[in-house]
């Protein structure tokens, strides 16, 4: 089966939106394509006519500071995020997550936008962005450009709220202030598909011996990338000693929906691992926020 009939490589967001609106259907955006092309090949995705490649779009390329925000274009490949000193300074969890995705060849092609748009509940880059409170910039041929909280993109496993005429342009992250830090960790298994059994990103702000503010993202802990809001409340204003962490973890566990994946991990195993990750990741972020 021919994977595509027409392959377009627009240079601007406007051109891309135009291509989406006016090309022979079915039309689909493609970023790195390291997942999408395989899904098409292996029949997991219905056939397409037109692929609109976003890798040459100028507005989606930069990693740069816009005022009080770090902007990361959706077409930036993982390897560039890993190598970026701006990302290392302001979004360490994201650099850590992107460094664990795939192998070097895949990271040279696969993009952060693709990672997010795929809408998987445990995508490493996505989980890091969730903890970093990213806003997604979306361009639409009808509604213009808008920013929404990242979490609003996700509908369910593999399903996003992005409409057919919409384009994920990039991500806005608050710059890191003094006493703030983030960390990402995950646990894999050596058999079967190379997806994490569980992953976690934590961002926090430290006020001397207390956690002033914190965000905890976990995957897969439900159908969508998930923030442990009650655990965050349990941590805020507290010193992260063992007692606090244990209490917060209980809150996390009571809210999270861990499921059993046959031949990969039972829900119980995930609950156990999240406890390990939670303490490790919290500790890492806390130590970095000095």
């Amino acid at each position: 089966m021919t994977r595509w009939q027409q392959y377009l490589q627009p240079k601007t967001v406007t051109e891309a939106l135009d291509a989406l609106a006016h090309s022979p259907e079915p039309t689909l955006l493609i970023a790195g394509g390291t997942d999408l092309l395989l899904d098409l090949d292996q029949g997991r995705h219905p056939p397409v006519h037109t692929l609109v490649d976003v890798n040459s779009i100028r507005e989606m390329q930069p990693i740069e500071i816009h005022g009080s925000e770090l902007f990361i274009g959706a077409s930036v490949p993982h390897s560039k995020i890993v190598a970026s000193s701006l990302v290392a300074d302001h979004a360490q969890a994201l650099a850590e997550a992107c460094n664990l995705i795939g192998g070097p060849q895949v990271r040279n092609v696969a993009t952060l936008g693709g990672n997010v748009a795929h809408a998987l509940p445990a995508a490493d880059g996505t989980i890091a962005l969730m903890a970093l409170n990213a806003q997604a910039e979306i361009a639409s041929s009808t509604k213009g450009i808008r920013q929404i909280p990242l979490s609003e993109i996700f509908l369910g496993p593999g399903k996003s709220t992005l409409a057919k005429d919409e384009l994920l342009v990039g991500f806005h992250l608050p710059l890191k202030n003094k006493n703030q830090a983030s960390a990402f960790k995950r646990i894999m298994r050596p058999q079967g598909v190379a997806l994490p059994i569980i992953n976690m990103a934590i961002w926090l702000e430290r006020d001397k011996d207390q956690i002033a503010d914190v965000r905890v993202a976990v995957g897969p802990a439900g159908p969508k990338p998930w923030r442990a809001l009650s655990a965050e409340s349990g941590l805020r204003g507290q010193h992260p000693d063992n007692k606090t962490a244990t209490r917060a973890l209980e809150l996390l566990l009571s809210d999270a929906q861990f499921r059993t994946s046959p031949r990969r991990a039972s829900a119980d195993y995930r609950r156990h691992l999240v406890s390990v990750l939670f303490k490790d990741t919290l500790q890492a972020a806390w130590n970095r926020a000095l």
Binding site: M1, T2, R3, W4, Q5, Q6, Y7, L8, Q9, I30, G33, T34, L37, L38, D41, Q42, L51, D53, N55, S79, G102, G103, P104, Q105, V106, N108, V109, I187, R189, P190, Q191, G192, V193, A194, R263, A265, S266, Y269, H272, L273, V276
Partner: protein, 951 residues
């Protein structure tokens, strides 16, 4: 976009854009740059890596149109990258080891290519373009990488020969050479203790230059004019009767040349290696026995059309209940899959008296183990090209482990005399036992016969995983009796082997599993019963280790359990029971020579104590500063027959010919799958003629041009074909000597051969001139020898069931994370009694690869079939170990020569892999007290085990 303009290896190309085309296809099919390999088309294996604007990418999932305006470097351009851009001074060029010969001209290679050759990193060669391109990108960015940085860069560039440590060392050596301009530092390697001119010395592979430059041709790299492409309609159901088949829509599709069904089979319908039970195509109202059975085959003008045609074929089945495991298969109420029933074979080993044996025991233990089905995952998927010739014959280009067997099986189905078919064996991107059975040979031949045109049948990774025979899943019960002092009194085993839908080599594999199921120990009373059962799973057949991988896991786990119960050191327990010269094996064979097991055990133990810095390496040791990480060592031993044994005639033919240009060619049909037979043959001939190995050409795997070397299986080729080549060369040498003796009127014993020249009474005669002289005298300067290995006896008759055994001991150090159940292997010490070291570079590659395959068998590999349906039908779901999982591997070669082996050598291909799995699982037990009795290791079960039953 209508056109693509891209620069490839410095040359600009403008081509029309093709819908759906990936960069790999553009390079391979339109630019004929076939050095870039396709191993999976899933972005998993890394074989297709090329550089795009300096960065490594996977060209199999990179749309070709995206390369527009970009600069591409492929393996074919790597050598030029060095001469053009990196060689800053002439000194460096000269120092690299000089020029290499490639297709008749001299080329300067990149230091990475040189290092891969000199260090022996090249084995089958299929992954090498990917390894080199990934490494090249790394060195451009980082001229002085650490081992960790190399592993990071090569994380997803898989090598199934798994010479990862050597690949790593090659990259370090190349980096150093690039930085300093000095020659490539030679590898540190153990040479033979016995001094020979060539044998036991470092000699590089004859095909290495082609393999590092992308010039080596594998089957799918070959094209013929007018060639058609084939595809196979697979049943897709595990068990049923084919009730309706409609090929009309497929036939009507433009571009389809023919569609064939079982009705079109000219000759016998079934094929098979020992038992003819496997239908070439399942016919109407016949039984489908597994998802990979074929019901129709298509030849079309393009691959795409052929695949589309297959989707248009309609097949309906009357579904039957599925037999999904061998224990179920033996139940009387299970449906019968073959006319003979579900029992392929009940295999029995009997020695002594079991009642007596267990009565003599102070301790009796019993435990049942399970091993998973595993896949060879050779990186080159199966490919056959059948080419009909005007004279009515047919050539089949294929990478096959048994070319003459292919010929026979194809002839049988076509109803042709065998000599009407010529198998032209091609380079193989790995085999490991998985290329012994028929894959596409028969289908390609049938289609070529009907269409009169060449037909290529290439499996993709998905089809490869579904169709070819696997390693048998087993259930093995071991009951052992021992005295308090550790002396074994009795071992009783019961094995079930899942041979899947068809016999393949199931009988032989499970026989080996059974005869070896009590381990490499001298035991007075032994009984083993094995049931090799048909099921509706993919067939199981030969896979490196040939059943012994499975039984070694069971018995070596049991040895550690016994050691603990008796409170005896597990190494000591093995040593006191170890087979030695004079021992009688379970099958009644007296071992007369070459039993280096005790030396293997002693050397591994000593190295383990040295490396661990403790006298109790089996005690768990928490990592300082990270007490949740616990380390311990584990130990295992093993043995494996060399050769077919069991009464099968084991012979090989080899022919050597001296040419007037001084080159000697050695010819045999024996197969080269990456293991290094071609190097071994070159070395043997060079040794026997006292000539430089580079002057020996090796031709293998051609049923018209090379004598039958028999199957490349059972670790037999160094021994059997090696002996054939040696004796053929000795015959040739005698003829050469007598020609010279006559011409110069000298006694033959006065003639000396030194470095490719003959010295006769003050005259110096070149090899080429000897050939001229022989021809003048009316004598052809060649010799053919058919070597028959020592006779063996069938199981049950006592005497020599095998003519040699290789022995091994391994120790593995693991680190278990007690918080998560995760683990990694840190060190593996592997001692192997190989008889005599023939080819040290190749041998080290075998040890590294064998250990990694054993590690994969323990930790990553699990071919999952549920109710006959394959779950792990993509490489993404069937993981093989990568470089990041590679432990520090310490090879130790032990040389106890065997009388009839060439220079004393015996087989090594399988023994190197056998003790690894139990050494790892024993180490896990020693670290955290959880006994793994089912493979592969499941980290979740480790965690629950240590949480709920702490040691």
């Amino acid at each position: 976009m209508n056109e693509i303009t891209l620069t490839v290896n410095g040359k600009k190309h403008t081509l029309p854009a093709k819908p759906g085309e990936m960069l790999a296809a553009l390079l391979r099919e339109r630019l004929n740059l076939t050095g870039t390999k396709i191993g999976c088309e899933e972005a998993e294996c890394g074989s297709c890596t090329v550089l795009v604007d300096g960065e490594p990418v996977l060209s199999c999932v990179y749309p070709a149109v995206r390369a527009d305006g970009k600069e591409i470097v492929t393996i074919e351009g790597l050598a030029a990258e060095f001469t053009a851009k990196s060689a800053k001074n002439a000194k460096q060029e000269l120092n690299l080891g000089g020029l290499r010969e490639l297709s008749g001209s001299k080329v300067q290679l990149h230091p990475l290519q040189e290092a891969f050759i000199q260090h022996g990193a090249v084995q089958c060669g299929f992954c090498i373009p990917g390894q080199l391109m990934t490494a090249y990108a790394l060195l451009k960015r980082n001229p002085d990488p650490s081992r960790e940085e190399i592993r990071y860069a090569l994380k997803d560039t898989l090598c199934r020969c798994a010479g990862y440590p050597t690949i790593e060392n090659s990259i370090l050596a190349a980096a150093q050479s690039l930085r300093t301009g000095d020659p490539i530092a030679p590898p540190k390697i153990q040479l033979s203790a016995e001094k020979h001119q060539v044998i036991g010395q470092v000699v590089t592979r004859p095909d290495a230059v082609e393999k590092v430059t992308g010039q080596a041709k594998f089957s799918d790299d070959i094209k013929f004019d007018g060639m058609l492409y084939a595809a196979v309609k697979r049943a897709g159901i595990p068990h049923g009767i084919l009730r309706r088949l409609d090929i009309s829509k497929a036939r009507a599709l433009p571009g389809v040349v023919t569609v064939l069904t079982a009705e079109d089979i000219p000759g016998e319908h079934n094929h098979g290696l020992v038992v003819y039970d496997w239908p070439a195509i399942v016919g109407l109202n016949e039984r489908v026995r597994y998802v990979g059975d074929s019901v129709a085959i298509v030849a079309a003008e393009t691959q795409e059309i052929a695949e589309q045609a297959v989707r248009l074929i309609e097949a309906e089945f009357e579904l039957q209940p599925v037999v999904s495991n061998p224990v179920q298969a033996r139940q009387p109420e299970s449906p019968s899959l073959h006319e003979s029933g579900n029992l392929l074979k009940h295999i029995k080993v009997r020695k002594g008296n079991m009642e007596q044996g267990f009565a003599d025991a102070d301790v009796i233990m019993e435990h049942t183990f399970h091993t998973a089905t595993t896949d060879h995952a050779f990186l080159e998927p199966e490919c056959s090209i059948a080419v009909p010739l005007p004279n009515g014959r047919m050539e089949i280009y294929v990478g096959s482990q048994i070319p003459y067997e292919d010929r026979q099986q194809v002839a049988r189905v076509l109803d042709w005399p065998e000599d009407r078919i010529r198998i032209v064996g091609q380079l193989m991107g790995g085999g490991f036992g998985g290329k012994e059975d028929i894959a596409g040979q028969i289908h390609a031949a049938m289609l070529a016969n009907v269409t009169g045109r060449p037909v290529k049948l290439l499996f993709d990774r998905h089809e490869s995983l579904l169709v070819h025979p696997k390693r048998h899943a087993t259930q093995i019960k071991v009951k052992v009796g021992a005295k308090k002092n550790g002396c074994l009194t009795a071992v009783e085993t019961e094995l079930y082997g899942d041979t899947g839908a068809y016999a393949s080599l199931g009988d032989k594999v499970m026989t080996r599993a059974t005869t070896h199921s009590a381990g490499p120990y001298e035991i007075p009373h032994v009984r083993a019963d094995c049931y090799a059962m048909y099921t509706n799973n993919p067939p199981a057949g030969a896979f490196r280790g040939f059943g012994v991988t499975q039984s070694a896991f069971a018995v070596e786990s049991m040895m550690d359990m016994l050691a603990e119960k008796l409170d005896i050191d597990p190494v000591e327990l093995r040593r006191m029971n170890a087979l030695h010269v004079g021992s009688v094996t379970n099958t009644g064979q007296v071992l007369r020579d070459s039993v280096g097991l005790t030396e293997c055990i002693d050397k591994v133990e000593a190295e383990m104590i040295r490396l661990s810095g403790t006298n109790d390496p089996f005690k768990p040791r928490p990592v300082a500063g990270a007490p949740h990480l616990v380390r311990a060592w584990g130990f295992a031993a093993g043995y494996k027959n060399t050769g077919l044994g069991g009464g099968a005639p084991d012979k090989a033919g080899a022919e050597v010919e001296l040419y007037t240009d001084g080159v000697v060619e050695v010819r045999t049909s024996s197969a080269e799958l990456g293991q290094g037979l071609v190097t071994v043959l070159r070395m043997i001939v060079a040794e026997e003629l006292s000539m430089p190995p580079e002057k020996v050409r090796v031709l293998v795997m051609d049923t018209d041009l090379t004598p039958d070397g028999g199957p490349t299986t059972a670790s037999r080729q160094t021994y059997v074909t090696g002996n054939a080549a040696r004796m053929a060369t000795q015959t040739l040498r005698a003829a050469m000597t007598s020609t010279l003796a006559e011409k110069y009127d000298q006694p033959p014993e006065k003639i000396r051969y030194i470095e490719g020249l003959a010295y006769v009474d003050g005259h110096i005669v070149s090899m080429g001139d000897i050939a001229v002289e022989m021809k003048k005298g009316g004598q052809e300067p060649r010799a053919l020898y058919e070597y028959w290995a020592p006779e063996t006896k069938p199981l049950g008759e006592g005497g020599d069931m095998h003519f040699a055994f290789a022995f091994a001991a391994q120790a593995a150090e693991v680190e278990v994370n007690t918080n998560t159940g995760e683990m990694r292997v840190l060190n593996v010490i592997a001692a192997n009694d190989v008889g005599r070291i023939v080819n040290p570079l190749g041998l080290e590659g075998q040890v590294e690869g064998g250990v990694m395959m054993g590690l994969g068998n323990a930790l990553t590999e699990n071919f999952i079939v549920e109710e006959g349906r394959v779950v792990t039908d993509r490489l993404a779901r069937y993981r093989i170990p990568g470089i990041e999982m590679t432990p520090n591997i310490i090879p130790i070669m032990v040389e106890h020569p065997t009388k009839d082996g060439p220079y004393g050598a015996k087989g090594v291909g399988e023994i190197v892999s056998i003790p690894t799995t139990p050494a790892i699982t024993n180490a896990i037990y020693n670290a955290v007290g959880v006994r793994v009795d089912s493979l592969p290791v499941d980290q979740e079960q480790i965690l629950w085990g240590l949480k709920y039953s702490p040691k």
